[in-house]
Structures are given as C-alpha cells and as structure tokens.
C-alpha cells in the first residue's frame, strides 16, 4: 500500500462542513497571479517529514501572498479531491483497471502521477471526469465535498474539474469560438451570471491567445480539425485558461510537444496556478516536471498508487527506471 500520503487526511474533517458560499468557489478564473509564489520550495521539501508543521507553514505562506485572506493557522487549505479505494473496470469487457486508488489533493497543490504504460494513469483521469468507457465498481471520489459518482460529466466540469485529454478529438463543423462560447456560457449560467454575446466573448478570449502564443485565426477554425498534436494540446490549455478550474488534470500534456511549445504550455499553466486551485499532471518524463514543479509525485503501478514522494522520485525514475523507484 502507499506510504501515508504527505497531506493530512486524518487531521481534519472534510470540508463539507465549511460553507462554500463565502469562499466564492465558482468565481471566474482569476487573472494570472502576479503575486510572488512561495519563495523557497527547498524549504518546503525540508519539512516533508513533518506533515503537521508543513500545513501551518503553507498557510502562513498563503497569507503572505494574499494580504486580505483571513486564514486560520491549522485550517489552511480546502480539500479539493479525495479519492478512497477507487476500483474501476472497462465497461465493455469488465476488465479491472483501477484496483484501489487513494489520492488526496488540497487546493494550491501541484501533483504528478507517473507510471508504466498500462498502469492505469489515464484511466484514473478519465474515471474522475466520468468517461462512459469505464465503470466504477467500488470506492469513493469526493470533489469539494460533493460525490462525483452522482454527478454527470457536465456537472463535474461545471463544479470545477477540468481534464486536458491525451488525444483530443476533432469536432469538424464546430468552430473553436463557438465551442468555447457555449462552454463559457454554461459556466456563467451555473453561477447565475449573464451570458456573454459572441462579441463580448471574443473580447474576453482574445488576450488569452497571447498566453499560449496562438494566432487569432485559430478561433475561426473548427475544434482540433487539422490541428497538429502540439496545437491540440495548446487548444486544451486555452480551454483551461478560458473556462478555469479548481482542479486541472493534465493527461500527458507534454506528449507530442516540441521544446518551445512545451515552454509555452508550461508557462500558461504556471500562470494559472493560484493558491486556490490545483493541478494533477500525468506524465512519463522529467522534462515537464522541470517546467511545472510538482509538490508531490505519485507512482502508479497496476492500478494503484504505490509510492508518493517529491521530485527526487522523478529523478530516480529518469536514471534507473521503475526498478530504481520501487527500491527507494
């Protein structure tokens, strides 16, 4: 079984009790944070072995960033995702892929999952967002206190769960602008805010294109039609930037990207990170993790998370492969 996950699962109750309303969870994506990020991650790493204290330190750091936020020490951060003993099978064949996954993610954290091909990483991500190819057979998944298993995929997305697909599909005939507009307005409706007309929406979306170094004509093209792999990934991140999310799951965002594209994408993702939202990356390589630095790295094997640690896991993986990691 995995070693006790570094974050506190036992120390405090889930946030179902805490009132969501005053936290303004559903706020539109904040502007790229211009505040300073927690200065020394090295310092945090040193505190790895002392879970309780880390929580306090983190809370202190986040108060330093956001001057007005009244954060009680010890309370710190909201629990975003809590997955307990999740098992899932392929709906058609009944073959079991996930065999008891445990994962906890708090707000403001960057997690990464690495693992062999076929270990269940992408399946895990797809199960989280409700892909019809898979069926959950046991365990629980709670997102901000709500039970994901009782929510349709569109409701999960509106709750703040975003997934960037490993191979985004084409939708010929539907333009990027229309697609984004529809999705954005769906969110506005949920928050009881007025929807944006196509022109207002254009004004909102246009600056985001710069973030990802994309040309303006991109919005007129159909969703992913004729896009190269790199363009599709950029499109996914653009959607993230436009729609916003509390938890963004990036499924192999680095596959198929050249170094420049990867830098752009990573820069955009980093720019979207705030103390209020988290990222879960699925990747094979260290390279991405050097751009978007994760706080925790989980190793998935055979449908379970077998190891959790920090960036040193990724370095060992790079040098010695999975064998080296299992001996850590």
């Amino acid at each position: 079984m995995a070693s006790a996950p570094p974050s506190l699962s036992t120390a405090r109750p889930p946030t179902a009790a805490s009132p969501h309303g005053d936290r303004r969870r559903g706020a539109l994506p904040p502007l790229p944070s211009c505040g300073a990020r927690p200065p020394s991650r090295g310092g945090l790493r040193a505190l790895r072995s002392v879970p309780l204290r880390r929580c306090v330190v983190r809370a202190a750091l986040s108060t330093a960033d956001r001057s007005a936020a009244p954060v009680e020490s010890g309370e710190g951060k909201e629990l975003l995702l809590e997955v307990r003993d999740l098992t899932a099978v392929i709906a058609e064949t009944g073959q079991e892929i996930l065999k008891g996954v445990d994962l906890t993610i708090y707000e403001g954290e960057v997690h990464a999952i690495m693992g062999k091909n076929g270990s269940g990483k992408s399946t895990f991500a797809k199960v989280l967002v409700g892909h019809p190819d898979y069926e959950v057979t046991g365990g629980s998944m709670m997102f901000k206190g709500e039970n994901l298993l009782e929510m349709e995929p569109e409701d999960r997305s509106l709750a703040g769960l975003f997934m960037s697909f490993q191979s985004p599909i084409e939708i010929p005939g539907v333009s990027n602008a229309d697609f984004l507009n529809m999705a954005y307005n769906a969110r506005r409706r949920k928050l009881n805010q007025p929807e944006l007309s196509p022109i207002e929406f254009w004004a909102y979306v246009y600056p985001k294109l710069d973030l990802l170094n994309m040309k303006a004509d991109f919005l007129n093209r159909n969703v992913n039609e004729g896009f190269s792999g790199g363009e599709r990934k950029r499109n996914e991140i653009l959607q993230l930037a436009v729609l916003g999310a509390e938890l963004a799951i990036l499924d192999e965002i680095d596959s198929g990207l050249d170094v420049d594209a990867l830098r752009d994408v990573a820069k955009a993702v980093n720019g979207l990170l705030t103390p209020k939202n988290s990222v879960l990356m699925i990747t094979h390589y260290l390279r991405l993790l050097e751009f978007i630095e994760p706080r925790y790295i989980h190793v998935m094997e055979n449908g379970k998370i077998v190891k959790t640690g920090d960036i040193s896991i990724a370095k060992t993986l790079e040098k010695e492969g999975f064998k080296g990691v299992s001996e850590m």
């Binding site: 409700g130 995929p153 569109e154 005939g173 529809m182 999705a183």
Partner: protein, 485 residues
C-alpha cells in the same frame, strides 16, 4: 391496373456524338392522346396514368401559338411517352425504397388556371428583392416585382411566351424533347406544364447577380382531405459558350399543413466553358409531395455545381441527371437531406461520363431524426468506355438520430474505362460518442451538444451555398428544425 412488361427506364447509353446545331433528326410521330386511336406501342397502358394525362391536357389552354412551339413539342413528346409508362411500383428498381402510394391514393387534379390570388407567394426579404427573380406560382410565371432590368444585355429571364426574339425561341427549340432518361414524372410535367420559364445567357456573358427562382404552390387542400392539386413548373436554362450564371431555386411551403403535389422540372444546357452554380432549397409543406427533375447537359470544359438542402415535404424526391457531352468537365454535387418529420427524402442521381478527363465530386449527407423518417439515396455514376482519366469521387454520410429511423443508400459506380480514378464511400451512424463526451467534459449538457453536432454535420454542405443570403436563410431553417417541439 395493368402491369407493364417492358420497363421503360432501362436505356442503352447514348453514343458519344458531337454537339450538333441541327435539330434532332429523330423521326418521331407526334400523337396526341385525345385525337388518335393509335395502339399503345410497348405493352399495356396504365389507365390511371392516361386519366391523369387527359385531365392535364384538358386543364391547359388550347395552343394559340404555332403548333411547333417548343412547349407544344414538349407536350406532344411527353404524351406519347405516357401512353406506355405505368405508375411506378415498389418492384421497379428506381422506386424500390420510395413509396409513392401517398400520391396515387389521393385524388389528383390539375391546378385551376391561372392561380386565384397570385399575390399569395410569401414575401421575399429585402435583400432578395434587389436581385433578379422570377416567381412561379402553381407552375405559372408571375412577372411582377421581378427586378429583371439589371441583367446584362442579351440575357433573358422570363416566360417563353413573352420572349420577343425569334432566334431565342428557335434556339431553345433545338434542345427540347431530346431527353431519353426521364421517367413517368418527367413526362407528366411535359404534358401538364402551362408555361416554360427560360433563363438564357449569351456567349461570354457573366451574370453577376444570382437569378432567383421562387416557387410556390398557392392552391392547396387541407390535411386529411386526400386531394392533391398538381402543379408542373418547368424551367429551361441555356448558357451559351463561356457564359456564367448563378441560379437559386427556392421552393417554399408557406404556413400550415397544406397538401399539394409539386412536380417541377429544370432542364439545363451548359455550353462549352460555361459555368453554373445551382442552389436548390426545398422547404415544402410537411404534407406535400414534391418530385423534382433536374437534367443537365454539360459541354466540354464546363462547370456545374449543385448545392441542395431539402427539408420539407412528406414525400420529396430529386431526380438528377448530368450528361457529359465533351471532355474536361467539372461536376460538383453537394446535397443535404433532412428528415425531421414523418417524411421521405430521396435523391436519385445519375452522372453519365462519355468523354475523357472529367472530374466530379459528389457529397450526399442526410439526417433522419424521426422514427418514421426515411432517407433514400441512389447515386449512379457511369464512367463509360471513352471516359478515360476520369476522376470521380462519391461520398455519402448519414446520421440516424432516432430508433427505427431508416436510411437506404446505394452508391454505385459503373466503370467501363480502364484508366480512371474513382472512389466511393458510405457511412451511416449516430452522433459520435467521443465527440459528445468532449462537449460534456467541458460543461455543455448533452442536449446542447447534440444540437451543435447535428448542425455542424449539415454545415459541411450548407457552407458551400455560394450566395450568403441563401446560406443564412437555410441556416435559420435548420436551427428552427433543431429546436425540440
């Protein structure tokens, strides 16, 4: 009801002949149904058909112009054919999937002439009134408000009977009654057409504005009355060498559930190097029958582009025949059929290639969103012996959105030449699950996602309509159809 032993619709392919200016030298004895007791030529006559033909002949005014006017010649040739053409049954291949009993079991009567209130045609939008247009109500040409003055010199748009130029009438006379591939409905139109609308484009002339033909059936019966007034609009288009014109045909059903049978024919002769972009929008009433014939003859190096969007009618059938009369032609056919009600949408197309280096692309899309809805497609392409280096492609994609919705597709290429590039493909499916999920994963609910995907399925054809006002109109029509009732 007599069964006919000789199917008239099987023909030997015409031999490639050079385009001759002489009138066709075929010896045809002209026999009018009324005046002669000549024996039927092949097999038995169909009494039902004969009765209908007689009723149509009675409804038309006796010919005031000389006996050999083009319209009279069409009538004579058609009535001769009708002597031995039975009403099609499900056993005839061209009607295997198309049930015409809805028409046959009703009481059919020709429209009274002229239409009672000719001003009943639905008003055009203000954009459209700027363009040259011709309103054809119940088969009769209504000339008012047609805005035809802006056309270039030599171009004629109007009724044949109003044509002042003798040479024009003669020229047209060279082409009529030469079509061997027609069926019963082609001949019924020939017998019953009260007038012939003509669009004539002289050599080298490029007509900037699209010519808009607006068809409307003013006379109609109520739903359930089982009576069908029959109208036979007929249009002849002649584009001389190097001429270019856009033609927009729009069939409007008006409001409510009006029942009628519209049986239009469009004949096109496209001279060498000419270019026609033909838009055909069919939005007939949901209780109406609509059987349209489009026959196109393409000379060398000409381009014929058809974009069709059909969404109305209880039984709607489009018979399309494109005949290649010279090498290096370009033919592009894009059709979208929508069956959202209890209706049948049928496209039977035939492309006959007898000369080298022809290029053709056919895309047919249909959406059936009603469990009683049906779409039929029979796309025939004949690449004959001398049509070497032909490049012909045909693709049909159908979307079935309800259980028991039906589509019957028969793409067929008959290839005799041996140095050609031909392909065809057919796909029938529901909306793609992965695409629907992509929408859901972005917070868009499944209903909205389905609407967007269905609309985008049709958009591939709709986006090809060359005139933007027509495109907008059609997009709005489709959006209305997609709103759940």
């Amino acid at each position: 009801m007599a069964a006919l032993a000789f199917p008239r619709h099987i023909r030997t392919p015409p031999k490639p002949s050079s385009f001759s200016n002489k009138p066709k030298a075929k010896a045809r004895t002209r026999i009018s149904v009324r005046s002669s007791l000549a024996p039927p030529q092949l097999g038995f006559s169909d009494p039902f058909v004969l009765e209908l033909a007689e009723a149509l002949e009675d409804s038309l005014p006796s010919p005031s112009s000389p006996k050999l006017s083009p319209l009279q010649r069409i009538r004579d040739a058609s009535s001769e054919t009708l002597l031995s053409t039975p009403w099609p049954s499900r056993k005839d291949e061209p009607f295997r999937f198309t049930d015409t009993s809805f028409i046959k079991n009703s009481t059919i009567y020709p429209v009274s002439r002229p239409p009672p209130q000719s001003l009943e045609a639905p008003p055009a939008s203000c954009e459209e009134t700027q363009l040259p247009q011709l309103a054809i109500v119940d088969g009769y040409i209504v000339d008012f408000g047609s805005n035809l003055s802006g056309l270039p010199d030599g171009v004629y748009v109007g009724s044949l009977s109003n044509a002042t130029s003798e040479s024009l009438v003669e020229r047209i006379g060279e082409f009529v009654s030469g079509f061997d591939w027609g069926d019963l409905f082609w001949s019924i139109n020939g017998v019953g057409a009260p007038d012939l609308a003509v669009i004539y484009v002289p050599a080298g002339c490029r007509v900037e504005n699209p010519v808009h033909l607006r068809y409307y059936s003013a006379e109609a019966s109520d739903e359930g009355s089982n009576r069908l007034p029959l109208s036979n609009p007929r249009v002849f288009v002649l584009v001389e060498k190097g001429g270019e014109v856009d033609i927009v045909e729009e069939f409007m059903g008006g409001d409510g559930n009006r029942c009628y049978w519209a049986n239009p024919v469009l004949e096109v002769v496209l001279g060498e190097g000419g270019k026609i972009r033909h838009s055909y929008v069919q939005n007939q009433s949901p209780c109406a029958a609509h059987i349209k014939w489009t026959s196109v003859q393409q000379e060398a190096e000409s381009t014929y582009q058809l974009v069709e969007v059909s969404s109305g009618g209880k039984l709607s059938r489009h018979n399309l025949h494109v005949q290649q009369l010279g090498p290096d032609t370009v033919t592009e056919l894009s059709t979208l059929h929508l069956a959202f009600n209890e209706q049948t949408q049928d496209l039977h197309s035939r492309l006959v290639l007898d000369y080298p280096r022809g290029s053709s692309r056919q895309l047919h899309k249909c959406i059936v969103a009603n469990s009683q809805g049906q779409a039929v497609f029979d796309g025939n392409v004949k690449v004959n012996r001398y049509a070497q280096q032909t490049d012909a492609g045909q693709l049909t994609r159908s979307l079935l959105l309800e259980p028991r919705a039906t589509v019957n597709v028969k793409p067929n290429l008959q290839i005799i030449a041996d140095d050609v590039k031909c392909s065809h493909g057919a796909a029938i499916s529901d909306l793609e699950e992965s695409q629907l999920f992509y929408f859901q994963a972005r917070g868009i609910d499944p209903k909205t996602a389905r609407k967007a995907l269905v609309f985008s399925f049709g958009a591939e054809v709709v986006s090809q309509l060359p005139n933007s006002f027509v495109q907008k109109k059609v997009e709005n029509q489709i959006r209305e159809l997609l709103v759940p009732r």
